[in-house]
Symmetry: none
Subunit: 218 residues, 4 copies
DNA sequence: TATGAATGAGCCTTCATTCAT
DNA sequence: GATGAATGAAGGCTCATTCAT
């Protein structure tokens, strides 16, 4: 008895996942409308017509990618919020949660497709996906609201706009065709987390790590 | 003598501009590939075939939009950089320069198309446009480099990544299909400028406006 | 009183002729279907729409070119047939009549259009033109028939096929995109007349010019 | 095992050939520009869009027809030149080689398309086809040059012009919309071969076969 | 399971023609 | 006499999708 059958994963299931991965890759590379079903089939090494044995339609593939692709995202973000630690640490973890998958296949493609192409869905599936996106946004927003409430972040910070800013900043990395010259994802995460927490102005408190600042200033 | 003839602007010139505006609007709404030439013609109130009296091709329209649409952008950014004042003010002005047009027709559409659809151009025109984009990016990067050099911004700020961050943050506003709930562009500009300069952490120096900070620290 | 008005040729008449010439040139260069009305208008230096002040339609222009263009042809061929002289001389004159105009503007274009594009006419005008063509063909055929009857040409020569051969040979010059390397039209006329009358075989009667043969044989 | 599989000819191969044949027929009947892809598809009994399962483009079909259609031609002409026999016989065989296919489907269409429409190819493929055409022309020219050298044909015959004449004469048959009234292709071949070799003038030597003439006159 | 063949709708573009001015 | 503006009908081509095998 093979592992596949033990886990109840049929060959079809495996190939379905492959097809979705291929579609995600194609969509990420050339856009949803710019990708033909032949592009996807080519990546899978099958004929165009055969694709329909796995995918009901190109549109449905997009929907599935958007839905499946971000669920883990949301789940992990929830864990981050539930954890303990200073808000700046949570923010940093949230940024990392958002950006780390970009370097991985196929996760990165799923994220990219979700971020850039979910709006091309017809209104039915779009709303389902939009709900997921809103949930994600709300989690981020809550992070900021709590950080303000507990005094970690400035009291004049608008949590809604802050959430937009953080997501926008992260999503911009997602769409980057030219990777910021030679910068690793880790470096980007560090820099962006620093910018969001400490800002760009010269630090009046001479410390590199803001976690220890409050203590040293009090 | 009509105004049109005084300014040497023929009817064709006016309608050409209209056609470009209509194309920009369509592209901004449905994407380049998602917009049919009929969509554009409908916005103009003419037949699809008549569009070609003004536009040589859909592709060429995209190229023209991208090129024309950002030239004023770059020019104004140059002026901002040449001005005097603290770096945080320059940054704020640069952000405003980037975001203010978004509220205007047709400027906003031109910006959106430039940001999101310039990559769909065939390599010829794409490179011309890419050069413009790089120039813009370099100006922003220089802003940060100089700010660091003159001590306005943290010495450990990476100007290249900072430029990516600032542009990414601004461009994310560009793509927002749902305007951040009830927030005016001006509010967004303020908040984003604050976030980038002061960060989110609680201010160790109790000032709301960083412009007055240097004074209070001297 | 100008010449134009004396001859009752209005400016319109002159421009109409110009338009036909331009159309003939365009058709000869790029074919009937390959020529746009803009091509014709460009040659005339007017706008596409203005063409219709002179030409009722592109199709009608083709018809007019075909009809007008060959009438002089037929007339001159009649004169040649009515003349006296040996048949080989008449044949030579007929060939010259057919080929000489090719070097001239706009006559050459009219001939080319008649030969190559008359079949694209819709059946109405086509038949009118076909009648002209048949008349021309019949004249040639009569030349051969008489030449055979009077003993100038071989008695086993089929006049119908001979007419086809002669016309085909001449018309092939008409369509030549590559002028036979450096050969003048006059040289071609000489060579082709020689080939048709004397053939290619070595001459049993040692004369280089068949014109002098009758004398030497009498 | 079917014949198809024995010869490794797939259904696609067969239908591709059919598509080319249909295109050749359409082009021969209505010209390249005058034939729509729908015309071709109709001949095949499929939908217009389905044509593209076999043909990459209308243009490419023209190129393929021109190239494939004449290769056998050239090959056979080479054999004729290599054979032994009097020049007039070779010429006759060359004429037959050129004209016989005209009566056959689809060969005749391929020839007609090659002769009349190869010039509508874009310069890339056109040059490839032009090379074939030049090769063919050169073979004919060589036939005449050798015939002159060995004394079979008149010493004052210009081989280049003679090749143009022979090809022009043959090609005119190709374009004939009205088959020379009731004349079989064989009759045309005979008559044209006679005209080219013996000419039209009365034969001073009363023999039908020119091979024996010199002997009988000496 | 997967393929080959075909469909049919839609898209971008061209172009002959019209007509008010 | 001529123009500029617009039309509407094709035309070539792509592509998501279907289905018998």
């Amino acid at each position: 008895m093979s592992i596949a059958s033990r886990t109840n994963e049929t060959k079809w299931d495996r190939r379905y996942k492959d097809a979705l991965d291929a579609a995600a890759e194609a969509f990420a590379e050339r856009g949803y409308l710019g990708s033909s079903t032949k592009d996807i089939a080519d990546k899978l090494g099958i004929q165009q017509g055969s694709l329909y044995y796995y995918l009901p339609s190109k549109e449905q593939a997009l929907a599935a990618i958007c839905e499946l692709g971000v669920q883990k995202f949301v789940a992990r973000l929830g864990e981050i919020l539930d954890s303990n630690g200073p808000s700046s640490e949570k923010l940093r973890a949230a940024i990392a949660n958002h950006l780390m998958p970009l370097t991985m296949k196929p996760e990165g493609d799923y994220v990219r497709v979700f971020v850039h192409h979910r709006h091309q869905l017809p209104s039915g599936p779009r709303q389902a996906v939009a709900a997921l996106a809103r949930r994600y946004h709300n989690l981020i927003e809550r992070l900021f609201a709590e950080a303000v409430r507990c005094g970690d972040f400035r009291s004049d910070l608008n949590p809604t706009l802050a959430a937009h800013a953080m997501l926008g900043l992260c999503n911009s990395v997602t769409g980057a065709r030219t990777q910021p010259a030679g910068a690793s994802i880790e470096a980007i995460i560090d820099e962006y987390a620093d910018i969001l927490t400490r800002g760009m102005n010269v630090d009046r408190a001479k410390t590199t790590n803001n976690k220890s600042q409050p203590a040293s200033r009090r």
